[in-house]
Amino acid sequence: CTSRFWFNYRHVANTLSVYRSVKRLGIPDSHIVLMLADDMACNPRNPKPATVFSHKNMELNVYGDDVEVDYRSYEVTVENFLRVLTGRIPPSTPRSKRLLSDDRSNILIYMTGHGGNGFLKFQDSEEITNVELADAFEQMWQKRRYNELLFIIDTCQGASMYERFYSPNIMALASSQVGEDSLSHQPDLAIGVHLMDRYTFYVLEFLEEIHPASQTNMNDLFQVCPKSLCVSTPGHRTDLFQRDPQNVLITDFFGSVRKVEITTETVSLDRDVAASESK
């Protein structure tokens, strides 16, 4: 989430809802870098402190006990974001703030905020352009910091952000095309702001039906939020991706299903060996 101020509550709720779904499908906090540009739960204007709701009538509190925010408030800057992606991080950064991925990692990047044709606004004072993002992904590819990457963006004119990607194995989804605005979903009268954006709301409804062993594939995710529900036209880009989206499972990115092998060998040890002396 890249926006500040109370009236951008919905961006924080978007991000926290995606965070919650991803954790539910099995990804642990050590594998998640969560960046929230402003604090909504403890915002002085929040009538229900310590909560962030994603559904009107306050059905679901997405800011529960289990939320680990890695970059909060003013730490969410374009520079920090690019540093996390490319790994050019000062040596004193703790492990939870680093992206420790390797060539077998599938990465999901979800960004939301205010954006325009070719840029995404950070903190109301700076922007990240689609060229910078494409270059950062290329730097990641050069160092093989990802195996496959799924980029989801929910902003106005979101499709412009993925136009410039040129590194292989990237799939991108956006909530609206160039020239269209993404709209928010529903206001809540008690809290006084809009709680979610439409595209993320329908993506989350879709994700609620996924469980860790699910076989649903990416083509279903592309169908989420048609124009009748979303008012904007969601777009996607798969030309850089090597596999057919039909064969890509949702849990490849949103969940974490590891490959396991049965251990069939043992090492035979001499049991009567005396303890070796430590050097």
Binding site: E79, P90, E265, S268, D270
Partner: protein, 407 residues
């Protein structure tokens, strides 16, 4: 080549591979058969085309790799090994494991032998009330609980959140978990794909670690007092964990042909030639990594012309280039240890140079952005200045003409 091998070896065995670096080959008949045998021996003890591809795995296009070529641990300067005991039911079982003794007796010899390859650090922990994410099925015939092979991938994630793997070090972590099932789910066996229970009762996940299930015998009398005291047989556990460690590093015995008999390496865990193979694979991987890192750094500098390279970054690059060149020459001469050391230095230097925090391309403005920022500032200011300059020039020219008129 000995003309006749002693007949103490069983008939089906024709090659005996020792634990240092020698092999005895029995070959009757033609020279061609001998040649084929020798080729097999070198393939087992040294390297094949597929192991070269595996070592270079991330530079090789996907189509040419076998599907499990990228499962071995990547070469790293160090690894952290964590042994965890999971006891989900402390009310029924009080589990004691002598992990320090086991580490000293069984794990240390293996790690000492592997110390050439990387630095290892070992720690251990005990977790209570940590459950598997999957409910095992009850099987009436064997009156035991079974975990099927396709539910195993879902076991790891719920546990991992509680493992607290290393906030401190940046080295890859290998987790070895020993799970003592709850009394209500005992005994628990792991089923392989065919439905047969696995003899080791353990499974591992590439680049992560391994899990073993340790069943506690039911008490003789049902009135035995709870909690039961359990003393874990560490030797049996370590046999499995060390085998998993070998498999994680890629030292498996799967591809050895059936007529080969391998000498047991004893408590050291691996034979000398296996260690050589590991060193060689890591050296090749390191050299490939360094060359791609430096190439991509050079490309980055080409793209953003006005990046400033600090002196220490430059010296790291020089050091990396020198080290990788010496690694390649040492490797071609066959000096494996020297080549490995040189490749390690090369990797350290090149990573330090590539990931230096000052190389963020965001900090260097491309020229078109500079124009975009400065023109709106200077152009409006420049217009009155230029106009008045033009006016001054016109006036001086007129004044120069006028004296000639007045005269």
């Amino acid at each position: 080549l000995l003309p006749a091998l002693t007949l103490s070896h069983p008939q089906g065995i024709s090659v005996y591979v020792g634990k240092h670096r020698s092999a005895l080959v029995r070959a009757g008949g033609s020279l061609a058969a001998l040649q084929a045998r020798l080729r097999e021996v070198t393939q087992v003890m040294s390297f094949t085309a597929s192991s070269i591809a595996a070592a270079l795995s991330d530079r090789v296009p996907d189509g040419q790799l076998s599907p499990d070529a990228r499962r071995y641990l990547k070469s790293s300067l160090g690894y952290e090994i964590t042994f965890s005991l999971l006891n989900p039911d402390p009310k029924s079982h009080t589990v004691d494991w002598d992990i320090e003794g086991a580490v000293n007796r069984y794990v240390k010899p293996v790690l000492d032998k592997l110390s050439l390859v990387a630095n290892f650090s070992v720690d251990s922990q005990i977790l209570y009330y940590a459950v598997l994410g999957v409910t095992p099925r009850y099987d009436k015939e064997s009156s035991s609980f079974l975990l099927s092979a396709h539910s195993l991938p879902h076991v790891i994630n719920p546990v991992e959140a509680r493992l607290g793997s290393s906030a401190a070090s940046l080295y890859p972590v290998l987790n070895f978990l020993l799970y003592v099932p709850e009394r209500s789910h005992s005994p628990l066996y792991i089923q392989d794909k065919d439905g047969a229970p696995v003899s080791t009762n353990a499974f591992h996940s590439p680049r992560w670690g391994g899990i073993m299930v340790y069943n506690v015998e039911a008490p003789a009398s049902p009135q035995a007092s709870l909690p039961l005291h359990v003393d874990v047989d560490m030797a049996r556990v370590m046999e499995v964990f060390l085998a998993q460690l070998r498999l994680l590093f890629g030292l498996s015995r799967e591809e050895v042909p059936a007529e080969f008999l391998l000498e047991r390496p004893g408590n050291e865990g691996l034979a000398d030639w296996e260690l050589d193979h590991l060193l060689w694979a890591h050296t090749v991987e390191n050299i490939a990594t360094v060359s791609t890192t430096l190439t991509s750094l050079a490309q980055l500098l080409d793209k953003i012309g006005n990046i400033v390279i600090k002196d220490d970054v430059a010296s790291e690059v020089y050091r990396a280039v020198a080290s990788v060149q010496s690694a390649v020459t040492e490797l071609s001469l066959g000096h494996l240890h020297a080549a490995f050391q040189a490749s390690k230095e090369a990797v350290t230097s090149s990573e330090r140079a590539f990931f230096d925090p000052s190389l963020l391309h965001l900090l260097y403005f491309p020229d078109d952005q500079k124009f975009a920022i400065y023109i709106p500032l200077f152009l409006p200011m420049a217009v009155p200045i230029l106009l008045s300059l033009a006016k001054i020039v016109r006036e001086t020219r007129q004044r120069k003409k006028e004296p000639t008129k007045m005269d």
